[in-house]
C-alpha cells in the first residue's frame, strides 16, 4: 500500500509542476492566483499521503488543515487586492 501512495504522490507532484508553470509564467494576475490556489489543494493531499506513508496521519491532518485555512485566506486577500486595484 505504501508503494501505491508514493506513486500517487509522484503523480500529484507532476500536476504541481504544471500548476507552477501557470503560476509563474501565466499571462496576467488572475492566472497566477488560480495556479497558486491549485498548488495549495494539491499540497494538502500530498501532506496527507505523507502521513499515510509514515503511519502518523493524525499529525499530518493538523498540518494540512492549517495549510487549507491559510490558502483560503491568501486567495481571499489576493482577490481583494485585485478588487480594490492596489489598495489591499
Amino acid at each position: 500500500m505504501t508503494t501505491f501512495f508514493i506513486y500517487l504522490g509522484m503523480g500529484l507532484f507532476t500536476l504541481v509542476l504544471l500548476c507552477l508553470y501557470r503560476g509563474t509564467l501565466g499571462p496576467g494576475v488572475l492566472n497566477r492566483i488560480a495556479g497558486i490556489c491549485a498548488i495549495g489543494t494539491k499540497t494538502l493531499i500530498i501532506l496527507l499521503l505523507m502521513g499515510f506513508i509514515y503511519n502518523r496521519v493524525e499529525m499530518f491532518v493538523d498540518i494540512s488543515m492549517v495549510y487549507a485555512l491559510l490558502n483560503f485566506i491568501g486567495t481571499i486577500t489576493a482577490a481583494k487586492y485585485l478588487e480594490m486595484k492596489g489598495e489591499v
Partner: protein, 151 residues
C-alpha cells in the same frame, strides 16, 4: 482604506469560519506537546482569523473588535508573560526558563510544573505573535496613515 466587501457570500463564509479558525488556533497552542504546532503556529492562525475579518468586513468594523492600540497592548502582554515566567524561575533560584522550580509556586510535582510552565510560555508567545501579525497587516493596509482620533 479597506472597505466592507459587497459580496454577501464572502462575508457569510468568513463570519461562519472565523470562530472555528480561532478554536483551532487554541487547539494548536494547547495541544503543542503531542502534535506539531506551538505558540508561534497557533498565534499565526489566530492572527490570520483577525486578518480575514479585516479583509472581509472592512477597516471601520475591524477597529471595533481589535484596534491598533489593543494590538500594541496585546503584543507587549505576550512578551511580558513570556519574560515574567522566565524571571519567576530566576527569582526562585534556578536558571532562566527552568520551569522545575515553579513546583513550589504551583504546588505540583516538578514534572507537572515543567509542563504547565512551558504551556504558559506558549500562551504568551501565541498572544504576542497574533497581535504583531495583525499590527503589521494593519499598517501595510492603511499605508501607515492613521489619524490620532482613530487610534
Amino acid at each position: 482604506m479597506i472597505r466592507l466587501t459587497d459580496d454577501i457570500i464572502i462575508r457569510t463564509v468568513a463570519r461562519i469560519l472565523i470562530p472555528f479558525i480561532q478554536l483551532y488556533a487554541l487547539y494548536v497552542i494547547m495541544h503543542s506537546h503531542h502534535s506539531p504546532g506551538g505558540g508561534f503556529q497557533g498565534g499565526v492562525i489566530l492572527g490570520a482569523s483577525f486578518i480575514l475579518y479585516l479583509v472581509t468586513h472592512g477597516l471601520e468594523e475591524a477597529k471595533t473588535r481589535m484596534s491598533e492600540m489593543k494590538a500594541g497592548i496585546f503584543s507587549s502582554l505576550g512578551v511580558l508573560i513570556y519574560s515574567g515566567i522566565g524571571l519567576l524561575c530566576l527569582i526562585l533560584g534556578s536558571n532562566y526558563l527552568d520551569y522545575g522550580k515553579l513546583s513550589a509556586v504551583l504546588r505540583v510535582i516538578p514534572a507537572q510544573a515543567r509542563s504547565l510552565g512551558i504551556l504558559g510560555v506558549e500562551i504568551g508567545v501565541g498572544i504576542a505573535v497574533m497581535a504583531v501579525m495583525f499590527s503589521v497587516f494593519f499598517d501595510i493596509a492603511t499605508g501607515g496613515e492613521l489619524k490620532e482620533d482613530q487610534e
